[in-house]
């Protein structure tokens, strides 16, 4: 069994282009069983290249969050595989998966989810501390990002002392700072007013363009989705459209 799996892994590595960050194959996620069976995601085959700026859209309950959670290694698929940087993350467990998430994925949540007892600067630094990045390098990266995201002067504030928009910008900085392969954001603007949400998206897009950072985010908001360079549409757990825009 294991050898078979390894052979597929190796085969994948050979075929997948160097630029592919994510590839999902026949990805399915079901909840419950029998009468209560819910197919949250059905046979999703997605390939995301480095530097893409992708929106996942669809009505409520269509499986957007489910897809992002599977890609981020927060949930396990019922069947199918997720390859991130050519590694099958469904075979990882415990510390391996923890470290992989730490080094390869940045998360942005709808509810900001900053660590309340840490200041903005400490929140941004957190992952680098886990990684053991030296202090000078840490400070350089934090300062750069705080400047880019317009957070200057807010470094010492605790999350509770920041507005929603500021908190989400700190969250973007936290996700960006360790230079992950991809940033996954599940409805990052849903808790923000539309102006602040649009501004946040513009900043993310700027980071995408200037630093070639790969983003995948989900949204309901037409104003937000129009900023995406690629839109994947989900309906009832099935991908119904996948269009790139120039």
């Amino acid at each position: 069994m294991t050898t078979q799996v390894n052979i597929t892994d190796v085969a994948k590595k050979a075929t997948v282009s160097q630029n592919t960050v994510i590839e999902t194959t026949h990805l399915c996620r079901e909840f419950g069983q029998g009468d209560t069976l819910v197919k949250a995601l059905t046979d999703a085959n997605i390939t995301i290249e480095r530097g893409e700026f992708t929106a996942i859209i669809g009505p409520s309950g269509s499986g957007k969050s489910t897809l992002l959670q599977l890609i981020g290694g927060l949930d396990n698929p019922s069947s199918g595989d997720v390859f991130l940087d050519n590694k099958n993350i469904n075979h990882m467990t415990g510390n391996e998966l923890s470290d992989f998430r730490r080094d390869h994925i940045g998360f942005i949540f709808q509810a900001y989810n900053l660590i309340p007892v840490l200041s903005a600067q400490e929140n941004i630094e957190y992952i680098m501390l886990l990684q053991g990045v030296p202090a000078t390098e840490r400070n350089k990266r934090v300062d750069n990002l705080m400047h880019t995201l317009g957070l200057e002067g807010l470094g010492d504030r605790r999350p509770a002392e920041l507005s929603g928009g500021q908190q989400q910008r700190v969250a973007v900085a936290r996700a960006m700072v360790s230079k992950p392969s991809i940033i996954l954001a599940d409805e990052p603007t849903a808790n923000l007013d539309s102006k602040t949400g649009a501004d946040l998206l513009d900043m993310m897009k700027e980071l995408n363009e200037k630093q070639n950072m790969t983003f995948v985010f989900s949204t309901h908001d037409p104003k937000i989705m129009e900023r995406a360079k690629r839109i994947i549409s989900l309906v009832d757990g099935c991908i119904v459209a996948d269009e790139r825009r120039s």
Partner: protein, 415 residues
């Protein structure tokens, strides 16, 4: 370092709850410390009073004299052993004794009596016999060895024996026993003191000097044989160790050196049983405190479930989350111990020096206890610390494990 910072920040975050946890754990420490101080203190006090009454901390006998006493089971060259023992700094007193169960005649009555030959000065350094003289005068060396004008040796007699025989100071006492040569030992003594009271150990005893005893038993020629050596040490807790080292130092298989725990084994056993009782009450304190701590830690970790989800989602290892929770509890436990210590130490010192005087003195086998004394020792302080810290870590283990094991997604979805 990161985890340590997080732990301290989290403790400071909900100050009121941390304070309540600290107070309940510190209170638990305080109660444990006092209970322990009182039990240990009372027991040391009881042991001290008990051993200083007549037993001493360590006794030396020939072979199995304790189980089957006999006139002939004597310790030879006792003088040498005594001077050897008295050189040891730990030894405060060595009292040689010769026993002879006898018949005592008073005015016109006869009663059995235990006659004890003692070295009055050494006995006074070892036990409280001198303090128990309630009429007359304690046997001093001059008094003891100089027979009175009628050539009678002086004797101190127990309170009950004096009453039964209707004897008072200055009266004549006749003792009859068996001499070492099988002859009938038979002598008249002059009552110089009455010792103890109706309840005390020596109520039916007669005390005479070793010289008088040897004359009485016709062993006057051999001045270095005794039945018993009772030793008092500077600390009763050294008794077992000292007995063992003395046993091997004596290099005499026929002598047996026993600590008071062996000599007075029934007293020792009943005390141990009593101690168990107080450990049970301490167990109950620990249990109650632990439940309270479990409650706060469980609440604290439950409401932070989402946060643990975030920490784990962004790459914190499960073990680090586990360590974080354990560390928070550990820090709280240490601070609690310090608080408890600051509160408990003055009280313990007060208990150790002044103590609580009992409304009614307790009479244990003729020995009176009227004050409950506390004790201050490393044991009294360290045991509660170990107990508070380990019970906190034990009750934190389950919430910590839960937080370490929960999937980040489930934790993130928790409300």
């Amino acid at each position: 370092m990161l985890i340590v910072k997080l732990a301290f920040r989290n403790i400071l975050r909900n100050r009121r709850r941390s304070l309540l946890t600290l107070l309940s754990m510190g209170g638990g420490f305080f109660l444990l410390c006092l209970t322990l101080s009182m039990t240990e203190g009372s027991y040391s006090n009881i042991i001290n009073i008990f051993t200083q009454d007549h037993t001493g901390h360590v006794q030396i006998h020939k072979e199995n004299y304790l189980e089957r006493p006999s006139l002939y089971k004597t310790i030879n060259h006792a003088d040498e052993i005594i001077s050897q023992l008295e050189q040891q700094p730990l030894v405060l007193g060595v009292a040689p004794r010769i026993y002879s169960p006898s018949l005592a005649y008073g005015k016109n009555k006869t009663f059995p009596a235990q006659v004890v030959g003692i070295d009055p000065e050494r006995e006074a350094k070892t036990t409280h016999l001198e303090n128990k003289v309630n009429e007359g005068q304690y046997l001093t060396r001059q008094l003891a060895n100089k027979t009175n004008k009628d050539a009678y040796f002086p004797a101190m007699i127990g309170f009950s024996l004096a009453k039964n025989l209707q004897l008072t100071i200055g009266d004549e006492l006749v003792l009859i026993s068996q001499g070492i040569d099988g002859s009938i030992a038979n002598d008249i003594f002059n009552v110089v003191a009455i010792v103890g009271d109706a309840g005390s150990y020596e109520r039916m005893n007669v005390y005479i000097s070793l010289t008088a005893m040897r004359t009485f038993l016709s062993i006057a020629g051999d001045s270095s044989k005794v039945h018993e050596l009772a030793l008092i040490l500077s600390s009763q807790s050294q008794a077992r160790k000292f007995a063992a080292s003395t046993q091997s130092a004596l290099k005499n298989e026929s002598l047996s050196v026993d600590p008071w725990q062996v000599v007075e084994s029934s007293f020792y056993k009943s005390m141990q049983a009593d101690k168990k009782g107080s450990y049970i009450s301490m167990g109950i304190i620990i249990f109650i405190v632990s439940i309270g701590v479990l409650n706060t830690i469980l609440m604290g970790t439950m409401e932070r479930t989402r946060e643990f989800g975030v920490l784990k989602a962004i790459g914190t290892r499960p073990l680090a989350v586990f360590t974080l929770i354990m560390l928070e509890s550990f820090v709280l436990a240490i601070i609690s111990c310090l608080i408890g210590l600051v509160l408990a130490l003055p009280v313990c010192f007060w208990l150790a020096s002044v103590g609580i005087s009992m409304p009614e003195p307790i009479d244990m086998g003729g020995i009176i206890f009227d004050t409950m004394l506390g004790e201050v020792s490393w044991f009294v302080v360290l045991l509660p610390s170990v107990v508070v810290i380990s019970s906190t870590l034990i009750v934190s283990f389950i919430p910590a494990l839960r937080a370490a094991k929960i999937s980040p997604l489930k934790a993130l979805q928790a409300v």
